[in-house]
């Protein structure tokens, strides 16, 4: 897809700068707060490492910048101009998507009536495909709730975004794991030292 090496480095750089910001902002946090900050900064760093080209990253950034406290962090990680640009996109998007959703609902309703009529005529033929469709739609809903910004996507783009999201998550996990290992190593060594 794309060179994971550069992506990793970009992510790491952004993440570290985000963490730095967190650490300067608040000195003494509880472990849960710290975890939250780490996770948020990692997510945002990953999203910004994707350059805001994908829907999920934009949605993630938009979600993160809803909270005022987190907004600073997001802005810091993204850089100011980038932040402005993405915010503009993310504020523009929901209105468009809402409209589309509404259209779809109307469409679905009208389709539903047609389907109901045909079901009455031949129920058994359609039954199997109906069940299969229902199963897959249910799962699609779940997947939509998992992928950030998935509620506003149609099926095709959802799958595409999921693909990208999985790739990014894998990269993120890789980097995080390595960093965790590294810090663990350092700390335990320091402990030994004392």
């Amino acid at each position: 897809m794309r060179a994971p090496n550069s992506l990793k480095q970009e992510f790491l750089k952004k993440w570290i700068s985000g963490l730095q910001m967190c650490s300067t902002c608040s000195k003494n946090m509880s472990i849960l707060e710290r975890k939250k900050a780490i996770k948020l900064s990692a997510d945002v760093a990953m999203a910004s490492a994707r350059n805001g080209r994908t829907c999920w990253s934009r949605a993630l950034i938009a979600n993160a910048s809803k909270n005022d406290k987190d907004k600073l962090l997001v802005e810091h990680i993204l850089g100011n101009s980038e932040f402005q640009r993405l915010n503009k996109i993310s504020t523009m998007r929901p209105t468009m998507t809402n409209k589309r959703v509404r259209c779809k609902k109307i469409l679905k309703r009208s389709c539903g009536t047609i389907r109901r009529v045909s079901k009455r005529v031949v129920p058994q033929k359609i039954l199997a495909s109906c069940v299969a469709k229902r199963l897959s739609t249910k799962r699609t809903q779940v997947l939509k709730s998992l992928v950030p910004g998935g509620e506003f996507m149609d099926d095709a783009s959802l799958i595409e975004e999921t693909l990208d999201y999985i790739m990014s998550l894998q990269t993120q996990i890789d980097v995080m794991r390595s960093l965790a290992n590294a810090t663990e190593l350092v700390l335990s060594r320091k402990n030994e030292q004392w």
């Binding site: 570290i16 780490i38 897959s136 779940v142 990269t171 810090t183």
Partner: protein, 424 residues
């Protein structure tokens, strides 16, 4: 159906005048494509209903080798439609249309659309139809053979001859059904179609989607969009299948989605876990940032210069999995001998080993298996990963170096950690 024939003649002739004016000889094509779409959607019963009627003119007018085609078309109409008026009118019309015919571009286009058209359902219905009107079918085939010769030159035609025949017949039927069913709309349709067709032929897109677009465009933008969408989804699903481990064996969309959901959830949980772990490890959010950024430059040069010290080079010469069999005592000795660099080496070695032979690694070595898992998860291009992982570990080791006196303890700790992650 037959009672509509009078109307069809009338309509046909009117339409013919229009065609002559506009010189849009292939207006029939989109109309039929449109029909295909409709028939696809309405399933086989529609077909059986139609099967009594076998078409003439629309079918004939598409034949590239036109003279033979016209005759064949007449013979086809003969048995099914006894109404002479309609027959004459059609054949006449088709003859008039001949001069404008025979453009190679059009032939190519049309054969593409034919090959890519009908879904299995439609072809099945056509098989039934085959049995019902055997004579007509054979007549049709004769004419189609001429077409085949033309098509041989066409690189884009992939589908087998028989299915092509069936599809052609399907087109013919559909064209006819269109004529008989929707007489009133005929003129408007032809107008629209000619416009659309000219527009389409201007824009040449890549083959497969192009074909579908042209077909759907005639009538039903919904079904067209739906088909394109479904195709897109299935294509992406294939990519996802490659990406998500354990998804290869599963067929069916629901099962695959299940697997994908599980995987995404597990990844998200992993992120949670790792951030929790990092939070637990660092009392303050201080990740030795100076170290990390000082070593950004270090990324460029891989940590291959590490094993230059005597002991470590000796280790390099040893069988690869030797060093993880070290007992703690031995390890302690090594550490005491060569200091920092020695501690740096084992993970580095393990890493390089996994990269060189990712398949044949003893699974007892936890650290290496962890790495291989990463490798398998991500990209097949192991060269980039090689550099990447090494870079990253170079960074880590450098950080190690900054501490004054390491011992064997940290390393075992990291192994435990990776073990933990493996179990996740």
């Amino acid at each position: 159906m037959l009672h509509c024939t009078d109307m069809t003649v009338l309509e046909r002739q009117r339409a013919r005048l229009k065609w002559q004016q506009q010189d849009q000889f292939h207006h029939e094509q989109p109309e039929e494509e449109e029909e295909e779409v409709v028939v696809e959607e309405r399933s086989g019963c529609y077909f059986s209903e139609l099967s009594g009627v076998f078409s003439g003119p629309s079918h004939v007018s598409q034949v590239p080798g036109f003279d033979g085609g016209g005759a064949a078309g007449n013979s086809i109409i003969g048995p099914v439609k006894p109404d002479p008026g309609s027959e004459n009118g059609w054949s006449e019309m088709s003859k008039i249309l001949v001069p404008g015919f025979g453009f190679p571009g059009f032939e190519a286009n049309f054969s593409i659309s034919r090959t890519a058209s009908c879904p299995p359902l439609a072809t099945a219905a056509e098989e039934v139809k085959d049995k019902m009107s055997g004579a007509a079918a054979t007549a049709g085939r004769e004419s189609f053979k001429k077409r085949k010769l033309d098509k041989l030159q066409n690189l884009k035609v992939v589908v087998e001859d028989e299915t092509r025949d069936k599809r052609l017949k399907g087109c013919a039927e559909e064209g006819d059904s269109k004529i008989t069913d929707q007489n009133n709309n005929n003129r408007e349709n032809s107008d629209n179609n000619s416009k659309e067709n000219s527009k389409v032929s201007d824009v040449q897109k890549p083959d497969y989607i192009h074909v579908r677009a042209r077909r759907g465009q005639a009538t039903d933008s919904h079904s067209l969009a739906e088909r394109v969408r479904r195709e897109k989804i299935s294509e992406r699903m294939k990519y996802l299948q490659d990406l998500v481990p354990g998804c290869n064996k599963i067929t069916g969309k629901a099962g695959m989605l299940d697997e994908i959901i599980n995987y995404v959830q597990s990844l998200q949980r992993q992120v949670e876990f790792l951030s929790m772990k990092l939070a637990a490890v660092n009392p303050r959010l201080d990740f030795n940032i100076d170290n990390f950024f000082a070593k950004e430059a270090f990324h460029a040069s891989p940590p291959a210069n590490f094993p230059t010290i005597g002991m470590s080079s000796e280790m390099n010469n040893n069988p690869a999995y030797l060093h993880h069999q070290f007992n703690p005592l031995q390890h302690q000795q090594v550490v005491s001998c060569s200091g920092i660099e020695m501690v740096i080496n084992p993970p580095d070695m393990g890493l390089r080993r996994t990269i060189s032979a990712p398949v044949s690694i003893p699974e007892t070595f936890l650290d290496s298996s962890c790495f291989t898992q990463q490798l398998q998860h991500l990209l097949p291009s192991s060269t980039t990963w090689d550099a990447d992982l090494q870079n990253f570990y170079g960074l880590q080791f450098d950080q190690d170096r900054s501490t004054t006196f390491p011992s064997h303890q940290p390393f075992t700790g990291s192994i435990e950690a990776s073990n933990l992650k493996m179990e996740m």
